[in-house]
């Protein structure tokens, strides 16, 4: 009975979009889904609107809600923007970061390395995420940090896929160390460039992954 119901439904739908239960172009039937979730159409419609806002669903007036998976082009664009935003965070953070935060970055990196050695990709993923969020925060601009976090979250399912690529985690670690070094030495442009490259390469890896999948399917 709380407002949370729409949130719960939105999350569940999000999950189903990510895991492929719903694929691109599918229409999300309000009555069918509301029955499935055991709620009325009202909170379900609320959830759909929330998904529309985060771009997962397109709401066409009088027609319904359609799943809208970003295509390869749009994904590349989103990764490019993510790279640029992280670069900005890094440039600002190089001037504003606190000693405590630097310590936390070192800590996150150490745990990342430990996760690689222990072959625990999930732990690696979590610590990697923490690493990036610390930099967002240390930009000293909470609006920027919030926007960066939102895009980061939106790209989550796509970034995760290409973590499995051989050697990517080791390479990523090396890049993390260069980033921390630049931040530690207060070098804005170096930090920005390192972060831009670090994120942009994810987009590129994703691109080649997509291309490989596509050619394999033919």
């Amino acid at each position: 009975m709380e407002q949370r119901r729409a949130d719960i439904i939105a999350e569940a739908l999000e999950e189903r979009i990510f895991d492929g239960t719903f694929s691109d172009g599918d229409r999300l039937d309000e009555v069918r889904l509301s029955e499935q979730f055991g709620v009325s159409r009202t909170p379900l419609r609320e959830a759909l609107q929330r998904l529309a806002r985060s771009g997962l669903v397109e709401l066409i007036p009088r027609r319904g809600a359609f799943v809208r998976q970003p295509g390869p082009v749009e994904l590349m664009e989103m990764f490019e923007v993510m790279a640029e935003i992280e670069a900005v965070c890094g440039r600002l953070a190089a001037l504003r970061i606190s000693d405590a935060a630097l310590q936390e970055l070192h800590d996150a990196n150490a745990k990342c390395q430990a996760a690689i050695d222990a072959l625990e990709p999930d732990t690696y993923y979590i610590e990697n995420e923490r690493f990036h969020h610390i930099i967002y925060q240390q930009s000293g601009n909470s609006f920027l940090a919030s926007e960066a976090g939102a895009l980061h979250r939106r790209l989550k399912p796509f970034r995760r896929q290409q973590l499995r690529l051989r050697g990517r985690m080791d390479q990523s670690m090396a890049e993390h160390r260069i980033i921390v070094e630049a931040l530690e030495n207060g070098q804005p442009e170096a930090a920005a460039d390192a972060l831009r490259g670090h994120v942009a390469i994810q987009g590129e890896k994703f691109h080649s992954l997509m291309a490989a999948l596509k050619s394999a399917a033919e």
Copy 2:
């Protein structure tokens, strides 16, 4: 009866928030507003959720919708992000811009200048907006262009205020010319720096304006 009703209401409420009819912290009563607009609570709640998504309203579960005007700090942060995003657009556009778009930028600038000479601030404002949107588009990244446009729109009411400052329009024109020059010569960093400065100064002007208003009120 179209879905548009919620859009219309959202826009109307947005207007009232901007023009000061509703001020920061005000609770937006669903029944009162729905009566006022002559609709039921359903589309009105939809409109509130839309406003919540663009940050103008905070939706507290079981409590209601509260107007949330960004304070000076948050505004400064938003202008900083706008400046950085425009810088990114400029850097990418310097490499990707078309001749036709360059021509359009010249055209927009010419009309801006004409508007200044004719003392038509509204025309100036429209052409200035066009100038910036062309650069967003020419970043060659439609996701970036869309994000830039969204933030631009959100800052609209605050940017407009400080256009009235003496000499700002002339200074702005000079900056526009430098920006076009950098784009024309394909100089990414020069374009980025020029755009960053051009937008950042708006935030700073706004800041001093706010400070002036505040000290005048004491």
